[in-house]
């Protein structure tokens, strides 16, 4: 659907990031009317979902408060039904979408010599050069030839990924109610050794009709997931790609290092002495394990006192209890966040969220023969608490191999935290429909939040929306089935984070020789903060033509963001580096969404439905704050907010790079904006075909424009593994000892330049000549890289899904006792085309953490439903 941007992570078990309308956070998840605080999409079995609706804009705010400010995803779970349903979905790994390639001609080292210390700017491989290298099988140094025996290290290290998802559910309905139980199991085997996850989900839901007027509903779920190891991905984690692809050379064969101990639990079988560890050791010994438990309960009662009226009382509660553990043996070198002497850490967290609602609803149709009305009024209380208790060994492990807090050299570090928040609300909704042609909705909501100061704690936000069906008023041509105009105006507000109004010293225990330290916060907190406000108005139209074969939907929206709560930067000479204020800087986000749905072809045996959606949105500065807005060239009224800034090379008036007298490119000292990071637009194209009992789904989506930091490709120039660096100049330097590379650009012959504080040139007397100084290709490549500091156009198109299914005809399946049987083959992440982005999938919108290679999955899905006594099934 238009405006919905799902950013998929290629990382193991990481949930997709969902953005609506370019918003800054994930939308609220509402399950059966309860906006749980802790439940996520991963805690719901897909087979328990009856329907998913998306509430855009600020409508969700009216219903669900502050948390709905980014939109809401309304999930309704299955209830009722009869019989047994089985669903089995199995996905198998089938190749890579964006696998980084590396050069395989040069070894580890620097300056053209082999050295297993760091970097991949070493000696030439496969030409018979002999060097002392580590033999992993004899576990000692031996004279061996430098060859590219490790050219396929990453491919050989990766394992096939499987995700199996199996579900069985039972349901029974009757006159007085229904019960449904469901059990779901997911087994996820990741791309790396020892990367696996088990998830179990069990739910029971039931409905009971106590009388004509009173109905009770309940839903209980339990979710548990366990994984022994999630380390290894990303750059900051010093994980597998960091090592195997970027920073270590192709002259060692990683598969020979599976036996990773020289002395068990103390010394690893590995040749590097800094930064990197044996990847199999990382997989099996440097462990970050995770155990998550979550329970949720929903009790709802609906009472109908008289015709048209309903009183709903609802309680929704979720509770989680998680434990993470981290451990590593002594003797490791990738120590960021770990300990070189060995460590064990235990991190427990638990918490709950509680939503209670009491709502009165009254609806009447055909009042005065023309008017439909529907009123809701009521109150909600939302409360959550989180607490954590963690401990970690300090200074290492006493006895190697024993991973416990009891085995700490110095007394273990202990730390703890507690958070809590409550929001009380009163809300009212009124809907009117006149002659089924004009509709009007009004909402109003007042919240009292615990995180704001007592004087600004209460805040009110209304909304108005309406639509008109034009075909009721005007004579439209016959091929127009329906034409709707709609508009809305809504306000949504946001309170502060928990404890944001507190001013607390930062205490450090045992900082030096047992002494404790205290530090006054460097964030100034002297203002009373008001809620932040978004005012959205939207206008749109939907037109259904040609017998509803074609629908066109257009929407334009404008979000005005003011009273922004900001930890605004202030000069440190004031004694503080930030101040928490409502800034007077305001912003406007404008966007357009278009979607087309067409039943392209419809014959007796064959149908083809297609949908295209397209959305664009940008955010602009409306007013600047004279005190708190930054003073630079790209922050200006009416300018875009998403400026992408770099500190560029010095360039001559024609834009050519200026080089030093030593032949190296010169970086300037002032930042400048070179473009925008938001996409120009995003879009999708989905197709559904049916032919008799077969169906086919094919969907594409992509983004065009903007800028994204292509960290993987950029950093590979520095490390020496970039395939484009395997060229004649590198060969000449390493093999022949000649520095023959000349940088493309100019050098300064005479004169000088002065800049104003913004970096604009005030005086320039420089004269130039073409750069002709030969330099070391290694030095030049490491400094210049792609020349753009990694800023790359992330335009891409993906074939996201291709699925073929076959539904066994009723007549056939019923003979086998099944009311429904279906089998389908699906492929996900089928194909990726990128314009400039290399070695990483720009779909995740943030390559700065070195994403793992995107995997393609092919899946097999089997779905059976066994009916019970020929009752209607679900």
């Amino acid at each position: 659907m238009a405006g919905l941007w799902i950013q998929n992570s290629t990382e193991f078990d990481e949930s997709p990031d969902i953005r609506l309308r370019g918003g800054s956070s994930n939308p609220l998840l509402v399950i059966d009317g309860v906006p749980y605080g802790n439940m996520g999409l991963r805690q719901i079995a897909p087979d328990d979902i009856e329907s998913i609706d998306v509430l855009k804009g600020a409508t969700a705010s009216a219903l669900y408060g502050v948390r709905g400010g980014g939109g809401a995803i309304i999930v309704t779970t299955k209830s009722g039904g009869n019989g047994i349903s089985v669903n089995s979905n199995n996905m198998f790994f089938a190749g890579y979408l964006a696998l980084p390639e590396v050069q395989t001609s040069y070894s580890a080292g620097l300056g053209g010599s082999y050295n297993s210390i760091d970097y991949v700017w070493g000696d030439k491989l496969d030409v018979g050069i002999m060097e002392e290298q580590w033999n992993p099988e004899t576990k000692q140094f031996e004279l061996m030839e430098l060859t590219s025996r490790g050219r396929d290290n990453l491919k050989n290290f990766l394992e096939p990924g499987i995700v199996t998802n199996n579900n069985i559910s039972f349901a029974r309905s009757g006159d007085i109610g229904s019960v449904r139980a469901s059990l779901n199991h997911v087994y996820n085997k990741g791309q790396y050794p020892n990367l696996k996850l088990n998830r179990l989900n069990a739910t029971i839901s039931g409905q009971l009709k106590l009388s004509e007027k009173l109905e009770l509903k309940s839903h209980i779920g339990y979710n548990r997931s366990m994984t022994p190891q999630i380390t290894g991905a990303g750059y900051g984690d010093q994980g597998y790609i960091y090592q195997l692809l970027m920073w270590t050379g192709p002259e060692y064969d990683v598969t020979k290092f599976r036996d990773y101990w020289v002395v068990p639990n103390e010394q690893q079988n590995w040749h590097y002495k800094a930064w990197y560890d044996n990847p199999y050791l990382i997989a099996y010994e440097k462990l970050y394990g995770r155990e998550n438990n979550m329970t949720n309960v929903n009790l709802t009662s609906d009472y109908k006192p008289f015709e048209g009226a309903k009183v709903t009382a609802r309680v929704g509660y979720d509770f989680y209890s998680n434990e993470d553990t981290r451990r590593n043996p002594p003797g490791i070198f990738s120590t960021r966040g770990w300990h070189a002497n060995g460590m064990f850490g235990q991190y427990q967290s638990r918490g709950f969220s509680l939503n209670t609602d009491l709502l009165f609803n009254y609806g009447k149709k055909k009042l005065f023969n023309t008017l439909d009305i529907d009123f809701t009024a009521g109150g909600t209380i939302y409360r959550y608490e989180d607490q954590s208790l963690s401990g970690a060994t300090r200074s290492g492990l006493i006895v190697p191999g024993v991973y416990s807090l009891n085995n700490s050299v110095e007394r273990p570090d202990v730390w703890t935290s507690r958070y809590g928040k409550q929001v009380n609300s009163l809300l009212g909704l009124a809907s009117f429909g006149w002659k089924d042609a004009v509709f009007l909705d009004l909402t109003g909501r007042n919240d009292w939040s615990s995180t704001l100061d007592i004087t600004t704690r209460s805040y009110f936000y209304p909304s108005v929306s309406g639509s008109i069906l034009l075909e009721e008023f005007f004579k439209l041509p016959t091929w127009v089935g329906m034409w709707k105009l709609r508009g809305s105006w809504a306000v949504s507000k946001q309170d502060l984070g928990v404890y944001a109004t507190n001013v607390n010293y930062d205490i450090s225990q045992g900082a030096w020789d047992g002494l404790n330290t205290a530090d006054y916060p460097s964030g100034l907190n002297t203002s009373v903060i008001k809620p932040q406000t978004n005012r959205t108005w939207e206008a749109g139209t939907a037109i259904y033509v040609l017998d509803n074969r074609l629908t066109i939907d257009l929407a334009y929206y404008n979000v005005f963001n003011y009273n922004r709560q900001l930890s605004s930067t202030i000069p440190a000479s004031s004694g503080f580096t930030t101040t928490l204020i409502n800034t007077n800087e305001t912003r406007v986000r404008r966007g357009v969404e278009v979607s087309l749905n067409a039943g392209v072809l419809k014959t007796r045996n064959f149908t083809w439905d297609a949908a295209v959606n397209w959305a664009t949105t940008h955010q602009y500065y409306k007013e600047l704050d004279p005190v708190y807005s930054p003073d630079n060239l790209w922050t200006k009224v009416g300018g875009r907010v998403d400026n992408y800034t770099i500190t560029d090379w010095l360039r001559d008036p024609q834009g050519r790079v200026i080089h030093t007298n030593g032949g190296l490119p010169q970086q300037g000292q002032y930042a400048s904006a070179i473009g925008y990071s938001d996409p120009k637009f995003i879009g999708g194209f989905t197709n559904s075909f049916t032919f008799r009992d077969f169906d086919l789904q094919l969907s594409f989506d992509g983004r065009v424009g903007g800028l994204l930091y292509n960290y993987t490709a950029y950093k590979m120039w520095d490390t020496g593994s970039h395939p484009d660096s395997d060229n004649q100049w590198r060969y000449d330097e390493v093999v022949n000892g000649n520095e023959s590379f000349v940088g493309n650009g100019v050098k300064v012959v005479s004169g000088s330049v002065s800049f104003d504080p913004y970096g604009r040139i005030t005086e320039d007397t420089r004269t130039y000549a073409p750069n002709d100084v030969p330099v070391s290709y290694e030095t030049y490549a490491r400094r210049f890289a792609d020349g753009r500091f990694g800023a790359t156009d992330p335009t891409f198109i993906k074939i996201r899904e291709l699925a073929i299914g076959y539904t066994v005809p009723r007549s056939l399946s019923e003979r086998w006792g099944m009311s429904r049987a279906r089998i389908s083959l699906t492929a996900q992440n089928v194909f990726l085309w990128t314009k400039d982005f290399r070695f990483a999938d720009p779909d995740w919108n943030a390559d700065s953490d070195l994403t793992s290679p995107s995997q393609r999955f092919i899946g097999l899905n089997l779905n059976f439903h066994l009916a019970n006594d020929n009752q209607p099934n679900n």
Partner: protein, 515 residues
Amino acid sequence: MITLRIKSTIACIAVTVVLASCTHFEDLNTNPDGFTTATPQMLATKLILDITRSDISSQKGFMANFMRDKYILWSEFAQGEQYNRIDRTSFGNFTRLIDVEKMIGLTDELDQEVANSYKGLSYFMRAYTFFSATMQVGDIPYSEALKGEREGNVKPRYDTQKEVFIGILNELDEANRLFAQGANFEGDVIYQGDPVKWQKMVNSFALKVLINLYRKTADSDLRVVERFNDILNNRPIFESNADNFQLVYSDQENQRYPFHKLGNQFVIYPMVSDILIDRLKATNDYRLFYYASPSKVQLDNGHSSSDFDAYKGTDPAIPYAGLSAIHSSGDYSGVNARYTEIPAGEPISLLSYAQVQFLLAEAAVRGWIEGDAQTYYAAGIQGAMQSVADHTPNHPSYHHNRIMGDAYIEAFPATNAVKLTGAAEHQIEQIIAQKYVSTYLQSPLNAFFENRRTGYPEFPINPASNENIPADRLPIRWMYPSDEVSYNSENVNEAINRQYNGSDNVNERMWLLKD
């Protein structure tokens, strides 16, 4: 059947619940694990650790300052610090001075004399922080600084560098007065709260500030020479290495020597410069064997590790490709094993007895004070050597069998290559050169500022590798912080205009460096 009465009861309960909950919101939004107040001891510990452990930094950050001092070369990549690239500084350290204010605010409950010690500490911290900032950029906010909370001033005006120096000297005078009337205070990791030692430190630091004003002796507001003599004659200053302002490391978590090898992946990169090594060789100084380790290639060539010729310094101005080649070949001297192998390493001083003696020697040569320059000079050298010898365990890989015994240290300053000779300027060069040798991996950035002040020892300029623009000179200041430029533009631009003609450039000469 539920009646109307029950329905209205439900409504009342709902409303009551809503209203009743509001009263406990204050409690809910107060962090039970948070601290709204602290003790002066805790703040004092934090402040002292800030200027020592935090500023000294660790691993690569530790060595980065010594690259600027041209003691260390770095083979990881072409480091800007080594090749003379200077960009913007930060006034982030000013936030520490808010802790200073809070510390003073909490001393009301204490004995008058203990409170005096904390107040003395506060003046010293302010003087130290403002001195560091003005030395880097020139004019800084001083009288209007630190008023973000008290007065809501988030755009402080800039004072002139001269006004700042007068303020610093006055604050050091005040600190001296307060410590003289002070008593032992808690939370001190350097002197264990001894006010007498702090008094010596404050006055010794004042001498260092004054020597930096050596171009301004004619200024009657500053009275540089008069103040110098007043301190030397009337106030206590460092008398021995026991008075050194130094942080003593130990084998505990977060207290190990900043370049110790545990968890330190950077031990493979540093190389020692020829500026240091050639000087040590020229004067037959045994500190060579304590500072550096021999070149693998020279050992293979037959030299022993107690041979001067086994040690090879590298030119810090050599282009990176050449540096990388030398590193790969192994023909260079790295840092001595005691910096990486010993968890406690050696104590790192910000101001030492030796440095104070060198200050006095220079003042004597300049004619500011009575006294024999050679005596002070010799005392400085001996203090520095003794400090190195005292903190080196007796193991061949740390001294390579060239032990600096008492007799060696006693005799060294009078040897021909070392003793002061020639005209005043030459003597000053010798004094600064010996000070340079004494601050190897000590007093980060001190050598850089001394070179900027005096031109000694001479740092090489190689246009092929120099990253300063223009490439024929070394930069002499930092640019103003980015948060000043973006959020205090009016005031910082005024300061840039009146000092540097509108150009915030690293080559511009600040008031302090002008004759």
